[in-house]
């Protein structure tokens, strides 16, 4: 049984806006019986304000598909079409307090149905390319169709490449065998042989900076280069500047980092958005820590504070 959040259960057992809207002037159909899930979104849009007065759904699918459809209708009611189009699948998942990785496709279906309904209202044509294959990477919800297409498009030849392009295989690594199998098949179709990366190379790639004991074992030297001693103010500004330089990258993935305080060698931060639940949060932190060590020219420890810890700090 999946571990569904209480909000998912609530929207599955007691869905909002179920059924078709009477006199709807926008309809979005995605998915199919063959896909295993489908959603028909019906909207009543005010022609003058382009505001969504009513939204209804009909869903063929699992519990999270029904919950995602219910969540979508709740999210878009009262918005203008342009405002509604800014809602993406992550917003639907967030509204439901998260979905299991294997079920993220349900929220994608919601986003696609919304786009289809708006296109229908505006008289535009939209191609439903809703197609999903077997799930390969459970950590990042990447299916085999995505992996195959990426391998072909970019002529990839290693698991590391696939991870770089799709994120698949970037966390627990249990899907590496499946990715290698896809690489074997795709390369074989081109008359090439798949050559697995040597184990030593993989180990080096997988090594990360250990935050707790500051061991640095990545194969390349992370020993900080000695720099002129900084004043406390210079040091603080440099930490801020370094973090500011990295934030846009995290924000692109719907995450963020915030500096809480600097306590000597200890730099305390909080993670925001997608970073809080990301399987690669440890890698993100390792990268941040390395950047800080390089910038400051000294060994520092990066700590992530929980909300409670932040609250306690605020009370002092």
């Amino acid at each position: 049984m999946w571990e569904y959040s209480e909000k998912v259960k609530q929207h599955f057992f007691d869905p909002k806006n179920a059924g078709a809207v009477v006199d709807a002037n926008a309809v979005g159909d995605v998915g199919s019986l063959s896909c295993g899930d489908a959603l028909r979104l019906t909207l009543k849009v005010n022609p003058e304000s382009e505001r969504i007065d009513e939204a209804g759904f009909q869903t063929f699918g699992c519990g999270s598909a029904i919950a995602s459809s219910s969540a979508l209708t709740e999210l878009i009611k009262g918005l203008t079409l342009d405002e509604a189009l800014k809602i993406d699948n992550q917003d639907i998942a967030d509204f439901l307090d998260g979905l299991p990785p294997e079920k993220m496709h349900c929220s994608v279906m919601g986003q696609e149905a919304l786009e289809a309904a708006v296109a229908n209202y505006r008289g535009e044509e939209i191609v439903d390319d809703h197609e999903e294959g077997a799930l390969i990477c459970k950590c990042f919800a990447v299916d085999d169709i995505k992996v195959r297409e990426t391998v072909r498009k970019h002529q990839l030849s290693s698991v590391e490449d696939v991870t770089n392009y799709t994120k698949a295989g970037g966390a627990c690594s249990s899907c590496h065998e499946a990715i290698e199998h896809i690489l074997e098949e795709e390369l074989s179709a081109l008359g090439q042989a798949f050559k697995p990366a040597p184990i030593a190379k993989r180990k080096a790639a997988a090594n990360v900076v250990q935050i707790q004991d500051m061991q640095v074992e990545t194969g390349e030297s992370y020993a900080p280069k000695k720099k002129a001693k900084l004043s406390n103010l210079q040091r603080m500004k440099l930490v801020e500047k370094t973090l500011e330089g990295i934030r846009p990258t995290l924000q692109r993935d719907h995450g963020d980092v915030e500096l809480i305080e600097i306590d000597g060698k200890h730099i305390n931060v909080s993670l925001k958005g997608a970073c809080t639940s990301c399987q690669l949060a440890d890698d993100t932190l390792s990268g941040l820590q390395k950047a800080l060590i390089d910038a400051l020219g000294e060994l520092v420890e990066l700590h992530v504070l929980s909300e409670k810890q932040q609250h306690n700090l605020g009370g002092l």
């Binding site: 049984m1 896909c35 295993g36 959603l39 063929f60 699992c62 294997e102």
Partner: protein, 400 residues
């Protein structure tokens, strides 16, 4: 009101008598069966008794043909890999499209290693074509592996006939009897079956114990090498408490087999008929004439299995779905696909698998609960009203 468990093909409750008999092996009789002292000797005797209980359940000629393993999957893997290693000149395997993943995924992997695997197709009722099977038997084949009974539909396959056909062609035969053992009479001494797998937790023993039956004289290569346990055919200290438990469970299964095939079978039929009569647009998948006494698989049009399971679970009813959505894939189960169940219904299959612990009152409660749940989900489905009203072939398939 107690919750209702009708997912016994997934796993079973440990029978109280079984639990009772295994407990002393954790704290009183904890010796290593291989040890020479009295602690070990007592346990060794208990293992011998358990082996004989399994011998009786399986109708094996010798108790030494029973090898204890950790589970059905280990038994399956041992059987297949042993057959390949023992006959290195034979590079082909015959199996079916409807096997358990323990067989299918191993076979898929062996294909990557250069072996040829023939997957026998099934018809709409899940039955095999024995002529097609016969045509594949040759001296290139190292092993035939066919399940005795299917876990989703309960279909029973003619493994004794197929084993005899394999023997005539000088080919080794294995059967995954994980679902059949304890539910159907088995007499291996009079069969041509060389290897058989069973799993304890499907017959009211605990999880983590299985058996590989190996007919005397069959060429064999162990999967686990190490100590001399199980006559060197499966190294590793014996899981004594679970082995003793499995022995007791085997004894009980034999004692209750008639009950399973009469009372439980009638309860299953009542449940099936009750649902079919109360719910439109649903049908039973598989061969209803030749199946396990405890299993029914019902396909409901235009809805999806996981949603059904969640709503049933809310009413305290545990069943299973043939929809692979529960495993993270959107594909219907490979068994439903192999039988060609229309997509309108393949996603909405529900499996009820009963045991001797289920009651008529429970069956009545399930019959009362299912129609409302199906109706509720259909009212949410974009296909239900369209499919029924349009009469479109896509939405109103004719079932064979």
């Amino acid at each position: 009101m107690n919750d209702i468990y009708m997912d016994n093909n997934a796993t079973t409750m440990v029978a109280p008598e079984v639990l009772e008999c295994m407990l002393p092996f954790f704290c009183e009789q904890y010796g290593n069966a291989s040890s020479m002292h009295s602690f070990g000797n007592k346990v060794g005797m208990a293992l011998r008794e358990a082996r004989q209980q399994l011998q009786t359940l399986l109708g094996a000629e010798h108790d030494s043909e029973v090898i204890f393993t950790s589970c059905g999957t280990e038994s399956d893997s041992t059987a297949i890999l042993s057959a390949l290693r023992a006959q290195p000149d034979r590079k082909e395997i015959i199996t079916t499209e409807v096997e358990h993943p323990a067989i299918l995924n191993l076979c898929n992997n062996l294909e990557l290693q250069g072996y040829t695997v023939h997957y026998l197709k099934v018809d709409k009722q899940g039955c095999l074509d024995l002529k097609a099977y016969k045509s594949l038997l040759s001296e290139r084949v190292a092993l035939v592996s066919v399940m005795w009974a299917n876990n989703e539909t309960g279909n029973v396959y003619p493994v004794e006939t197929m084993a005899a056909m394999a023997e005539a062609a000088n080919v080794m035969f294995h059967t995954d009897a994980v679902q059949a053992a304890g539910k159907l009479p088995i007499n291996l001494a009079n069969s041509s079956i060389h290897m058989l797998s069973l799993s304890g937790h499907k017959l009211h023993a605990p999880k983590g114990i299985g058996v590989l039956y190996l007919k005397r004289g069959t060429r064999f290569r162990p999967l686990l090498r190490g100590g001399h346990q199980e006559r060197g055919r499966r190294a590793g200290t014996e899981n004594t408490a679970s082995i003793v438990a499995l022995g007791k469970a085997a004894e009980l299964a034999l004692a209750h087999m008639a009950y399973e095939n009469s009372v439980v079978s009638k309860l299953r039929d009542k449940l099936e008929q009750g649902i079919l009569q109360a719910v439109p647009n649903c049908f039973v998948t598989g061969n209803t004439l030749k199946r396990l006494p405890n299993t029914t698989s019902i396909a409901f049009e235009f809805i999806e299995g996981e949603a059904l399971l969640l709503l049933l679970n809310k009413q305290g009813i545990a069943a299973s779905s043939g929809s692979a959505c529960t495993s993270g894939s959107l594909e219907p189960s490979h068994v439903m696909k192999a039988m060609g169940i229309p997509l309108t219904a393949a996603h909405g299959t529900l499996r009820f698998s009963l045991s001797r612990y289920n009651t008529e009152e429970e069956v009545d409660r399930v019959i009362a609960a299912v129609p409302g749940i199906v109706q509720r989900l259909r009212s949410l489905s974009p296909y239900w009203s369209e499919g029924v009203q349009s009469g479109d072939a896509e939405f109103a398939p004719i079932y064979a």
